[in-house]
């Protein structure tokens, strides 16, 4: 029995999913996680290191790893890749100047072999801000159409501030992961 199938079996039993939140600093990763967990989002410091949240979502347990996005600590993202079922890439849709940076980091991340099977949800965050780019525009700017054909991905506009779009995004992600891992159910 391969290691993978053992892991799958364990996961099937526990119905656990490991989700990694990444993206540039100031994109709203921590705010999204706290918002979806129904916590106060008014005082959030830039993440120095990482936060883990375990959330019961439908019949699944989500282990959400929210990793800081400051440039200095991006090199530590790799430490969280192992066994990642779902990847959430958060974009500050209003930070037009750093979209190039954002695109570079995303495509760089997706080269990682350990993440090759992970479903990818892209949150075009901060849609509530005037002048933010729409999900379609973000798709073009980040050149998402050029992603590997085998990659399961979806982009969803959201606002971590109002909470709009967050559930839609996580619904898709959890469904997509479940259809891959828990096929036998």
């Amino acid at each position: 029995m391969g290691l993978l199938s053992i892991i799958r079996k364990i996961k099937r039993k526990e119905k656990e999913m490991r989700i990694l939140m990444v993206g540039l600093d100031n994109s709203g990763k921590t705010t999204i996680v706290l918002k979806i967990n129904g916590e106060d989002t008014s005082v959030i410091s830039p993440t120095l290191g990482f936060n883990i949240k375990t959330i019961a979502y439908n019949k699944y347990t989500l282990n959400i790893w929210d990793v800081g996005g400051q440039r200095t600590i991006r090199s530590y993202w790799r430490n969280y890749f192992e066994q990642t079922d779902g990847l959430v890439w958060v974009v500050d849709s209003s930070d037009l100047r750093r979209l190039d940076d954002c695109k570079f980091e995303l495509h760089n991340l997706l080269k990682e072999e350990r993440l090759s099977g992970a479903s990818l949800l892209i949150f075009a965050n901060k849609q509530d801000i005037q002048g933010a780019l729409s999900p379609d525009e973000i798709t073009k700017v980040l050149n998402l159409e050029a992603l590997d054909k085998t990659r399961h991905w979806k982009i969803i506009g959201c606002s971590a501030y109002t909470g709009e779009g967050l559930l839609e995004g996580f619904d898709w992600l959890v469904q997509d992961i479940a259809s891959r891992i828990y096929v036998l159910d």
């Binding site: 120095l48 695109k103 901060k126 002048g131």
Partner: protein, 342 residues
């Protein structure tokens, strides 16, 4: 009873068939049982079958041979398209032949099996020869692969070029102040237009923003003074030098700042990254209506976070050498934007 039998036995065995019906029956049964083997083995299959198999085999071989010769001789370019399917058909009949040998190998003499297999492998070889002769497949495939990978490279390069161009045409500019020198830049934000604002590439300017904002992006300022009302979202400051900032915001990130002073009110901990010689002090801006704006933005309370700076380039318990608290004696004290200045 037993004694009688014992006595009679010697006599009776002399003529078993007639004198002992049981024994006879047994012999009969035995011979019957043997019969099928005897009749099956030598009679029906082996010789006849081996012969018929060999004739069938050689027939197929001849037809394959002739097919191959035909393929080899066909030089007509029009028949090229059918050639491939012809060769495929030959390949199929060869494998059929191989299957035939395998199916019949259980009764064939081992010599015949070996000969047949040799014939098949030589047929395969000649098929390969003909294929490479008539349709230079291998070479062609190799070339096409190379060519296709080259195409991929090209498209990748093209993609990359497109990528580089894309953002410039698609990304619009945020509202903001940019590319100016020695100016006083003033903007008042009213409740309805709580948007984002960009301040970039200024030299020796003074920027006064009053009212509430959602987000501010600040890039490449030199020797500037920036005074802003409350920012409900976050402030991102990059590449500034010799500047003074008076800001109130929920989040503040400072990257690549040198020799600058920050008078802040922050809901969370401000962070610096790749900075040096930056100093921090409490927020000290006032203008007509600032109390209301601060309250509206949830920034009316002094949290004292202005001094809780996290330096991402100094992940140690001891104080970072990159920043310090601005001594009160060097503080500007207070900045007042008068209505006439707006």
């Amino acid at each position: 009873m037993e004694g009688e039998e014992d006595l009679s036995n010697p006599i009776k065995t002399l003529d078993p068939a007639s004198s002992h019906p049981k024994h006879t029956a047994m012999l009969e049964r035995l011979s019957n049982r043997k019969q099928p083997f005897l009749s099956r083995n030598p009679d029906s299959h082996p010789f006849e079958s081996t012969n018929s198999f060999l004739s069938r085999f050689s027939q197929s071989k001849h037809s394959i041979d002739s097919d191959l010769t035909r393929c080899r001789q066909s030089t007509d370019p029009d028949s090229k398209s059918t050639l491939k399917s012809d060769l495929e058909a030959v390949s199929i009949s060869i494998s059929d032949l191989e299957k035939l040998v395998a199916e019949n190998s259980y009764f064939l003499p081992s010599y015949e099996v070996r000969t047949c297999l040799q014939t098949i492998s030589s047929l395969k070889q000649s098929l390969e020869n003909v294929t490479s002769e008539v349709v230079p497949k291998k070479k062609f495939a190799f070339k096409s692969k190379k060519a296709s990978s080259g195409v991929v490279d090209k498209t990748e390069i093209e993609n990359h070029e497109i990528d580089l161009e894309k953002p410039s045409f698609i990304v619009p500019d945020l509202p903001g102040f940019r590319n100016m020198e020695n100016e006083v830049l003033v903007k008042e934000f009213k409740g309805s237009e709580m948007g984002e604002f960009s301040i970039s590439d200024l030299n020796s300017c003074e920027v006064r923003l009053t009212g509430c904002l959602r987000a501010i992006f600040i890039h490449r300022l030199k020797n500037c003074k920036v005074y802003t009302g409350p920012v409900f979202g976050s402030v991102l400051i990059e590449e500034v030098e010799g500047c003074v900032f008076v800001l109130a915001s929920h989040q503040i990130r400072v990257h690549h700042a040198r020799a600058s002073d920050f008078y802040l009110r922050v809901r969370s901990r401000p962070i610096i990254e790749d900075c040096s010689g930056v100093r921090f002090a409490p927020y000290c801006l006032s203008y007509d209506g600032i109390e209301r704006d601060l309250k509206e933005s949830n920034l009316d309370e002094e949290t004292g976070n202005w001094a809780n700076v996290d330096d991402f380039k100094w992940l140690k318990a001891v104080q970072s050498p990159n920043w310090e608290i601005l001594p009160e004696s060097e503080s500007v004290g207070g900045v007042i934007i008068l209505n006439s200045d707006k």
